[in-house]
């Protein structure tokens, strides 16, 4: 089936540094999402993105977070500066978009971020 790719699979950085997580969504999908999952907890929605704009964001999407998809390339999540509580697995997802049958979100394998 369609695949969402995420690069890198693991990232270890020092607190205060900047990190960019990359996502290659399914090619014909229009909506893109980031989710955060702390070990042993449920996945929590951060943000979704459509047509070059953030459509909605949760309270977890702090001011230090930003997303973009320049020129149809990777959909990125940037955290600047990072904090210890940002350590988690970040999942990217994409969907065709509207309505019920197009609402299925395809998930990438996740990027495990460790902030030291």
């Amino acid at each position: 089936g369609p695949k969402v790719l995420q690069i890198p699979s693991h990232q270890i950085i020092d607190m205060g540094q900047m990190v960019t997580l990359n996502c290659d969504p399914v090619s014909n999908h229009l909506y893109f999402y980031w989710y955060k999952q702390i070990l042993g907890q449920q996945m929590e929605f951060l943000v979704n993105f459509y047509n070059g704009k953030v459509m909605e964001k949760s309270k977890l999407f702090k001011d230090q977070f930003s997303v973009e998809r320049p020129d149809g390339s990777y959909f990125t999540l940037k955290i600047q500066p990072t904090a210890l509580e940002d350590s988690a697995v970040y999942f990217c997802a994409s969907s065709l978009g509207l309505g019920d049958i197009y609402a299925e979100q395809f998930f990438g394998p996740g990027t495990r971020l460790t902030v030291l």
Partner: protein, 117 residues
């Protein structure tokens, strides 16, 4: 506000039918309930979804749901479960507001299922 609750934290089966329960809260008239399985690698695999406006229980392969809209509850039924069905199963809510754009999913805490041969 939306919320999804999965009652069982773990379940097990020795080859047979497995039923996983989920309840949810939403103020939207239209929504979807989706089920995903998270593999031990972390990968999320979509299984099945139920639209709120469809009274018929959905089926997909050996997955089906029992949808009780008035109770805001839905169960995933895995028939003839196999060891490869092991993993953590997540129930998720997708609200469809009037402008109908795709929204972020609200997930439950998941139910870990182990199927033994």
């Amino acid at each position: 506000a939306q919320r999804v609750t999965q009652v069982q934290s773990t379940g097990s089966s020795q080859w047979g039918e497995v039923t996983l329960d989920c309840s949810y809260e939403t103020s939207e008239y239209s929504y979807l309930i989706l089920w995903y399985r998270q593999l031990f690698s972390g990968e999320m695999v979509f299984l099945i979804y139920q639209p709120s406006f469809d009274t018929q229980n959905q089926r997909s392969g050996h997955y089906s749901v029992v949808f009780q809209k008035s109770f805001k509850s839905i169960s995933l039924v895995i028939s003839a479960s196999q060891p490869e069905d092991s993993g953590t199963y997540f129930c998720a809510l997708s609200e469809l507001p009037r402008n109908n754009y795709a929204q972020g999913l609200t997930f439950g805490l998941g139910t870990r299922v182990s199927v033994f041969p």
